[in-house]
Symmetry: C2
Subunit: 314 residues, 2 copies
């Protein structure tokens, strides 16, 4: 039962039997942990990575910390929770320069600040590998689960896609990002759609379901559809203009970049058909009865980044 | 500025400038992160390790998960916060057997349950090294800081010491633990003094300061004394009977085992002299004006486990 054979999602299914619910609508297997507390909910998340597998050649150590913090807060924002505090745990080699660790911590701190949260502390560990994990805690009066999408609902997304997919292509092919500042930014210091939380507070009966898209848009839509027991039919996916230009220059399909990029910290929100989606979102499709994800009548494959299987990034 | 030269505590002093306070009495540099929320406080902690550096020959993968969970919850309990929820992030090699990962997750889940908390979820990462980080969130109506000890206060501890120090000696010397079940238990599946929380709720004006002793009793007493600007004078340290027997058999100083063991998940509580310490604690000394830690008139050195310096365990 090698991890490389069962893959990350297969393994998660095994682990799910060990995870416990707390009476919160955001339950086991959802984006973040959730606990009822004083008429509201505390949400907890942890996210991290082995630096050698995730640091891109143009990333600084500051970016390494920044991205780990954003990845951890992303799941909170997707659940309609405001990030409040972060703590980081890192592994470094004893002969590493303390300055690179400080840069990473500074990246975590600044990403926290940018999103209204505080870096509260952390832990450093002597290790053969370099890794970083960021724990994030947030608060929500009404968390939004993955399950909850109903036929007729509107599917909307918080931004446009394709920049990170282009970035991973650039990494594989050794493309210089000098003329692609958007791609560089998206893969170095992404930021989160915190403005969704205002809608979530004012109009929270309107949001039926949500998921963060850090594993890629296609897989995230599939996970939401599976959790809700519905089909998602896309009409269109907003693709970032720079990703479109990049795809054109390198002969790539821009829709593939948009669907299978990963590490794109946007949110999919599923809105009651009687409501208007948040004004800054893009409506991309509808919920129907059935299963799976379609672009019109064409099925969209689930494929995405898997930690333990070979993936499109390698 | 190699980590191996500045050491873990030296590095922490550098990082402290980046950590932010939130108006909670448990502030930057204390055992855990703390955030005011709804007339109370949410406490957050993260703790982890590189498995290759911390797994003892007699530890199972279940123990690896259990110990990481206990280490993370320990700082919450020391701050008078009840652990509520945990999330784990782990690095494993793609060719690792998924069963060892599941065993580690089961250890985290069971340690959470034993201490009244829920395992809410987690994250797995492909890595060259194997590591585990556990984030723990808890709640307190009145968190207890490191700083706060005043001259005249009583210093008490939640248990007896020496078993883990003996365990690290046994590891170095290849001693078989067959006849030392207490040492084996303390270094495999330690548990936390949750009963302190009842005292903390009923008598919370009586607790002036507290610290967890996971880095060793001597260093923890020093950190508390430094944070409070006081001297701690010990009269006695409770040493576990089995640690005493072990020390006798192998010609070791039992007090050294008790002071410099580490990974002993007890709590030091500093109690107002007008109060009775919690009935299950042992009073070990007094707070005086000045600085440092003494046994009678003899100074106790700070030495303890440091992630990046050579330490007594290696």
């Amino acid at each position: 039962l090698r991890l490389s054979r069962i893959g990350e999602y297969g393994f998660h299914r095994l682990v799910l039997g060990l995870v416990e619910g707390s009476g919160c609508i955001v339950g086991p297997g959802d984006d973040a942990g959730c606990l009822p507390l004083n008429n509201g909910f505390v949400l907890l998340n942890i996210d991290g990575y082995d630096v050698s597998r995730a640091m891109l050649p143009w990333n600084t150590w500051y970016d390494v910390g920044w991205k780990a913090a954003v990845a951890s807060m992303s799941d909170l924002v997707a659940k309609n929770a405001r990030p409040l505090g972060l703590m980081a745990s890192m592994g470094f080699r004893p002969d590493d320069d303390g300055m690179i660790v400080l840069e990473a911590v500074r990246g975590v701190r600044d990403a926290a600040r940018r999103h209204g949260a505080l870096l509260l502390g952390g832990d450093t560990n002597s290790s053969e590998a370099r890794w970083i994990d960021v724990a994030a805690v947030g608060y929500s009066r009404r968390p939004v689960p993955r399950r909850g999408a109903r036929p007729g609902d509107i599917v909307a997304v918080s931004g446009s896609f394709g920049l990170t997919g282009a970035g991973f292509h650039a990494y594989r092919e050794g493309v210089d990002l000098g003329e692609w500042p958007g791609i560089r930014e998206a893969t170095s210091r992404p930021s989160l759609p915190l403005w969704l939380l205002d809608y979530g507070e004012r109009m929270n009966e309107c949001i039926h379901a949500a998921i963060d898209v850090s594993d890629g848009l296609a897989v995230s839509l599939h996970l939401l559809a599976e959790a809700s027991g519905v089909r998602i039919v896309l009409e269109d996916v907003p693709i970032h203009q720079e990703a479109r230009l990049y795809a054109e220059k390198y002969g790539l399909d821009p829709l593939q970049l948009a669907l299978y990029g990963g590490e794109e910290y946007e949110v999919v929100v599923v809105i009651d058909e009687a409501c208007s989606p948040p004004s800054k979102t893009h409506a991309v499709g509808r919920v129907e009865e059935g299963g799976g994800v379609y672009m019109g009548s064409k099925p969209i494959e689930k494929g995405g980044w898997d930690q333990f299987l070979s993936s499109q990034r390698e």
